[in-house]
């Protein structure tokens, strides 16, 4: 499919279409799942290979790089999460590196991967998993389950319900209002997580696509936008990680 035969509207629409199998709710975005799992495995493979050879002496360069990331995540967790939970730090590391890698797919020229896959007869390919709401909601949903799990684990079922109903207004007649407010607050957390990441990356991808329709002028503009993503990509991964830590830290707080 060449850009000359179709309008830019069609071009963009085509690029924003996932490779889908199935219908309705039971549909599965093969590209999103495939790329995200592939990138997750890349992350785990690199980090596992370093972990296996982890040397307490003078580290190699790859080990240094991995340790810098681990140290950075560890510092972020320690400065925010005061408690002892062996899950938080690996969770934060997984989120940070995985989201970073998925966001980094934004740097791959928008036409490159679809063109390659087109050669093999695959007509739709969205290579940036974080521009798919299913991906970001899946992550946020996982975090949400943990928030509820730890809220109940730390405060007990009674404490959890009490927290939902007795704040911010202490009078019994207003408990229903508290409950509505608190549930909205609680639901806002995973939704804001998912929507922030999705929105930023989706908008970024859309602008990459718009730039791609400019013709010959696209090269310098593309470069500038890609350079701008040097900030966006790690920042969004960092924000997702930090907010996850903060939310889980709040869930651990017993009033």
């Amino acid at each position: 499919m060449s850009a000359g035969e179709i309008t830019s509207q069609e071009y963009i629409k085509h690029h924003l279409h996932n490779l889908t199998v199935g219908e309705g709710f039971w549909a599965v975005h093969i590209d999103t799942l495939g790329w995200s799992i592939f990138l997750g495995l890349v992350f785990l493979y690199i980090f596992r290979s370093v972990a296996k050879k982890a040397d307490t002496g003078v580290p190699g360069k790859l080990q240094c790089a991995v340790e810098m990331i681990v140290g950075f995540v560890d510092d972020s967790v320690k400065s925010t999460f005061h408690g002892n939970n062996p899950l938080i730090a690996p969770l934060a590391l997984t989120i940070f590196v995985w989201v970073l890698l998925m966001n980094a797919m934004d740097w791959v020229p928008v036409d490159l991967l679809p063109r390659i896959f087109e050669l093999f007869g695959v007509h739709y390919m969205k290579a940036v998993p974080t521009t798919d709401m299913n991906m970001t909601l899946g992550l946020a949903f996982g975090v949400f389950i943990l928030i509820i799990y730890y809220s109940i684990k730390v405060k007990g079922i009674g404490g959890f319900i009490k927290e939902l109903t007795t704040q911010p207004f202490g009078h019994w007649s207003l408990y229903w209002l508290n409950f509505i407010l608190e549930v909205v607050t609680m639901l806002a957390r995973p939704l804001s997580l998912a929507l922030r990441l999705f929105g930023n990356l989706y908008a970024g991808e859309l602008i990459f696509l718009l730039i791609a329709t400019l013709g010959i002028a696209q090269l310098p503009v593309h470069f500038i936008w890609a350079a701008f993503h040097l900030l966006v990509i790690p920042l969004q991964a960092f924000i997702f990680m930090m907010l996850t830590i903060v939310y889980l830290s709040l869930a651990h707080e017993d009033h």
């Binding site: 599965v28 296996k52 690996p90 299913n134 909601l137």
Partner: protein, 156 residues
């Protein structure tokens, strides 16, 4: 944007990745980091201690040097005193020796003078006897007049 089964798939993938990371990735890496941090901290502490030790040793050495210098000065002072004393003693000794030698000289001279006197007396006696013999023109029994001669000699 349709929400569909992909969400569940991503959720499962997420859970699997986190569990793998928690079991096989995080502990060895953070363990290595913390072990190395401890090693480095120990090394730094050791080097700090060594630096402090060095400083102490230098201070000690300086103090010892000062002591040594003071001691050397003392020794030199004592040596000078001793030298003066030795010189004085030697002078005294020499003085005494000189006096002794002079006294011995005097005694020798005295002895020799006495000897010479004695010889002179005897020769005078002989001369006197010979003179008397010549005067009397006859032989005088030397033995019979020896008492007179002895008296004569004693008077010389």
């Amino acid at each position: 944007m349709n929400i569909n089964m992909t969400l569940i798939g991503e959720l499962i993938a997420f859970v699997v990745f986190v569990i793998f990371c928690m079991k096989y990735v995080w502990p060895p890496i953070i363990g290595a980091i913390e072990t190395r941090q401890k090693t480095i901290a120990d090394g730094l502490a050791a080097s700090d201690r060594a630096a402090k030790d060095l400083e102490l040793a230098q201070e000690k050495a300086t103090a010892q040097l000062k002591d040594a210098k003071a001691q050397a000065a003392e020794i030199v002072e004592a040596a000078k005193k001793r030298e003066a004393q030795i010189v004085e003693e030697a002078a005294e000794k020499a003085q005494a020796e000189k006096a002794k030698i002079i006294a011995a000289g005097h005694a020798e001279i005295e002895t020799e003078r006495n000897q010479a006197k004695e010889e002179l007396r005897q020769q005078v006696a002989i001369l006197a006897v010979a003179g008397a013999e010549k005067i009397l023109e006859r032989s005088i029994d030397a033995a019979a007049h020896s008492d007179i001669l002895d008296k004569l000699v004693a008077e010389l």
